[in-house]
Symmetry: C2
Subunit: 687 residues, 2 copies
Amino acid sequence: MKIWLYIGLVASVVSIGVALYLFFWVKRQPPGTEKAQEVASWIREGAQTYLKRLYLALTIVAVILGFIIAVVFSFDLNEIASGQAGITPINGIRMAVAFNSGALCSAIAGYMGMAVAVEANVRTATAANESLNKAFRLSFYAGSVMGLAMVGLAVLGMTVIFLLTGDAEVILGFSFGASALALLAKAGGGIYTKTADIAADLVGKIEVGIPEDDPRNPAVVADNVGDNVGDVAGMGADIFDSYVASAVAVMLLGASANSLSVEYVILPLILCTLGIGASLLGIQFVRVGKNGKPGPALNFGTIITTLFFAVMVLALVLLSDINIGVLWATLTGLVTGVIIGFTSDYFTSEDRKPVFETARVSGSGAAINIITGFSYGLMSIVPSVIGIAAATLLSYYLSELTGLPGIYGIGISAVGMLSISGMIVSADAYGPIVDNARGIAEMAGMDHEVIVKTDKLDAAGNTAKAITKGFSISAAALTVLALFAAYAEVVTAAGIEVDMSLRDPIVVAGVFLGAMTPPLFSALTMLSVTHNAFDMIEEIRRQFREKPGILAGTEKPDYATCVGLAAQGALSSLVLPAFLAVGLPLLVGFILGPNALGGFLAGSIFTGVIFALLMANAGGLWDNAKKYIETGKFGGLGSDAHKASVVGDTVGDPFKDTAGPSLNTLITVMSLVSSLFAPIIAAFSLF
Amino acid sequence: MKIWLYIGLVASVVSIGVALYLFFWVKRQPPGTEKAQEVASWIREGAQTYLKRLYLALTIVAVILGFIIAVVFSFDLNEIASGQAGITPINGIRMAVAFNSGALCSAIAGYMGMAVAVEANVRTATAANESLNKAFRLSFYAGSVMGLAMVGLAVLGMTVIFLLTGDAEVILGFSFGASALALLAKAGGGIYTKTADIAADLVGKIEVGIPEDDPRNPAVVADNVGDNVGDVAGMGADIFDSYVASAVAVMLLGASANSLSVEYVILPLILCTLGIGASLLGIQFVRVGKNGKPGPALNFGTIITTLFFAVMVLALVLLSDINIGVLWATLTGLVTGVIIGFTSDYFTSEDRKPVFETARVSGSGAAINIITGFSYGLMSIVPSVIGIAAATLLSYYLSELTGLPGIYGIGISAVGMLSISGMIVSADAYGPIVDNARGIAEMAGMDHEVIVKTDKLDAAGNTAKAITKGFSISAAALTVLALFAAYAEVVTAAGIEVDMSLRDPIVVAGVFLGAMTPPLFSALTMLSVTHNAFDMIEEIRRQFREKPGILAGTEKPDYATCVGLAAQGALSSLVLPAFLAVGLPLLVGFILGPNALGGFLAGSIFTGVIFALLMANAGGLWDNAKKYIETGKFGGLGSDAHKASVVGDTVGDPFKDTAGPSLNTLITVMSLVSSLFAPIIAAFSLF
């Protein structure tokens, strides 16, 4: 099966190559009028300012964590236990290198996504002047730069490490690096984007009454930068992290199962390779026809990629001696992902009861809008949780029936869902690009027709986003369940008997502590948003006060200060959440022992999934209820119902764009850090 | 130790006797002016209308469930397994009788609480005309009618059943009856009270601009009735249910532990008896001095009762051969309860950061107020969860160290906390009585001075409420943990090996399904509130439209229709939540088996506790942020900040008074129904 590793290398290089080709293709497209280019350059520079600061901070974190990892993993616990010196620096160094490579690959994928997004936005707006079709193609191909770069870099990194070391545990280090970076990029980007968004809206729309994306607003650039750093770079890092984590979890499970041959260790890499192929094919099918419906085009791309992938797995199982259970597990994952995606869509679609009801009751005030939206958000948890539970049981028992270890099957179903990430991310990254294109069209004073076209493109992005969000949350849930199983295997391998029974009070205490972590993390990030927005509001007011020419349109606002303020605020808000993610599991593990830590991880998964679903769906619902009213329903724009729905939308902003999307990454990081340090925890914990 | 059962009988009869004495003492106090009496009679009649409908509905439910229980428990599973006829009708009948007795005792306690509250409210207002001291004494003694009746009836019921049958499992039936009634009374009352409150506020305060409690508002009576049915009857039923459930859980654990002698089976009844004594003593110490501070007086009562109780347990342990571990477990429970109560107070107190910050940011609009309050609500989970985890571990290991089964110790710590319920409920029931007194003073046009005094009394009630709420949530958490352990024992006794390991996917699936239940339940009850409020708003608007004399003050509004509408709406909203509580655990048990059901219960406990804390604390925080602004801070009454804080307060209303407080009862009912049906589930489940 080693041939597959080389096929993986080739596929990943091809994927990165196509991404680079598309990147330069996008850059070759007409960049538009001078005014548009100027506006785009503000956003590009703002994004670079943020990224420079973020990557500087991340480099420091990576170096420090890398050093700690190098030291800790230089100790050989077995040798120490038998009374020997037990220091093997090479083990520490290779783990640290793997960790830093993971962080670096994630950073490069995010950077490429950002770099193309800030070029594609203005070009999409310019192309929209010509035709919807052209604009759609440009923005979608720009989105696939990140999708393809991401899966390519991930497979490349994992394959190279495995070829060099042959040890799945070193890939755990790679995965931890990717996830640690993803958490900071995702949470930081989420805080940044909503700080700018809320501050820009509150002062711009409400206090001085200028429209969205008005160039007189000093925070307008920061707001548009936020769309890129939160939605493009952050989201890419997020799926990158699940993608790698699911693969490494299955590799560990494959390595620890005595009944499985070595090909099951590299099977996740094979599936990822097939997924790259399916995505490369699927992307060709994303085209809008004459009648121009971008939404169905995106969904068609996702569906056809899924089909290609399923056929490839079928062929793999038939043509090799891989167990048929792998096919069932993969199909379970894919089908569940699609079903959960579409039910999430039910709760956030304009033509369905939840959004309609929330819009309808808005006439009775903001409070009723919020209670209703929040309640539907709570209800939206139900189908996804049932789906996750069903997928867990199905993939487990179908695998057991065919002779595979059931827990390995759960992991495969996660890998199966995530294998087509190349396509999923492409469709998702498209959204913020067209959103930005709309902003530039507005700021550069383009034709109304262009704005109508970008609005149409934007609506398609929102539908795709709802579906991929459901997909990514359920994939993350299955991934962390596989990681959880891998944790138990690592602890067992360290010679500690794992008994995570709910009848053991120390496990129950662990679950309670784990269960409180996602809500606490959400609270910290959301409070950062309101806190930072408060500072930014002061800055915007100051500019309006000290330079009256801004509002008159005769003076250019100081965009850079707002960008810097948002960046500074977001980065300094990350300290406590980062400690929670890395420090708390270690604290629980060393004080209460590996069984309690197992409970802790389980608890964080349960509430992490529930809060992620609640926040994503409630936030999307409020957003769409507002948009629904803005189409003229229930009083339309400017009515009391509309004002109430704006409050709901603003509450939903940090729900869906700050706290919610970071939770996946939080639980992944906690699972990875626990597995990585499990042998040391097992050796030194108090209980 | 049988002597203790007779002492328990005497203590419970004394407690009920004192409650009746105080009831008639309250009725003998001066009922006030004719106008005040008229207003009070509206509320009294409204309350009776609601109770009549509620009890009618409950009787039907109790008869049907009682019949099912009688049939199901007539089958003797052991005999059937060995091929015999296996029908023993007497077993079924005695379980059904126990079930109905539990429901009846809970109903009587709730009814007494309501009956005295609707007499005491007008008398408190009248007494406030004379002196604060007198008004305080009257309302507190009225509150203790329910406190004492409740503990008396609970101990009486459990003791009589144990004397007659000697079987702790029959008491499980009694407990299930009490909890089933509590769930319907609590959730129904919660929906009723917030329907009326929100509708009255939205039309009254916002649309037509009349003050709170204005007699021209057609919903004002329903609103005041709501305070009684939600806060008095509902809260009483809620603690009644935890009180009985904790005792029965420990009795089951005592009966199933081979190492324990029979006295440990009746130990919870002994502790409850001592608690009754301590409460009767403690109530004597609740007095306001010359300088008139009602808040500290209530807290002093709670603290001194705790001390009396601790001394009594110390004496019990020293003078009998009861294990010293019982003392440690009891103290752990008491200390944790007090600490959690005071930390909850931190998040809802006006002079602390969370409320202050939420009030401060309100100037930036309702959305920021809500995000901030919600985030602090999420943070408020942390200290309580750590407290619960610590109490679980401490009571477990301290018991193990002294030779008691650790799990028995966890149960004892819950019983220890709840033993002083007589005092806790008295302090808690005082709150809605003075709240109502304020309403009557306003409606009957009493002096401004009276309103100032009732406001002062009301503030003390809110402090007491925050502390007892923390107390009751943590007590409920420990209770359900003990019930959870009891469930495992019952399943084991049925000959099924219980293995609730988190490594088993069916257990994980169970936990996921259990974890989604409290959010779903919250969503259903909150949506009922907005839905019913919508209907009621229409009715209020109709009355204002069709009878212009109402707003002019020349025509009396039709209060009864609003009362009826709220009652009807609340009761018909209970069908789905009730199915969730009773049907879902059985469904999970029969389909996925006893291990999955164990996971289900654990999952519901984790998120149940978390959502209960979030909703109670966020709701209290928003309420107090609004009140803080109303004292003139950050712009004061009528400012933009105030308007924003009113939105937060309205969102918090169904959080803290509808969904939040029902969650305790929900998880207790689910645990009880699982334990009760465990042998049948073990015999007939698919997995």
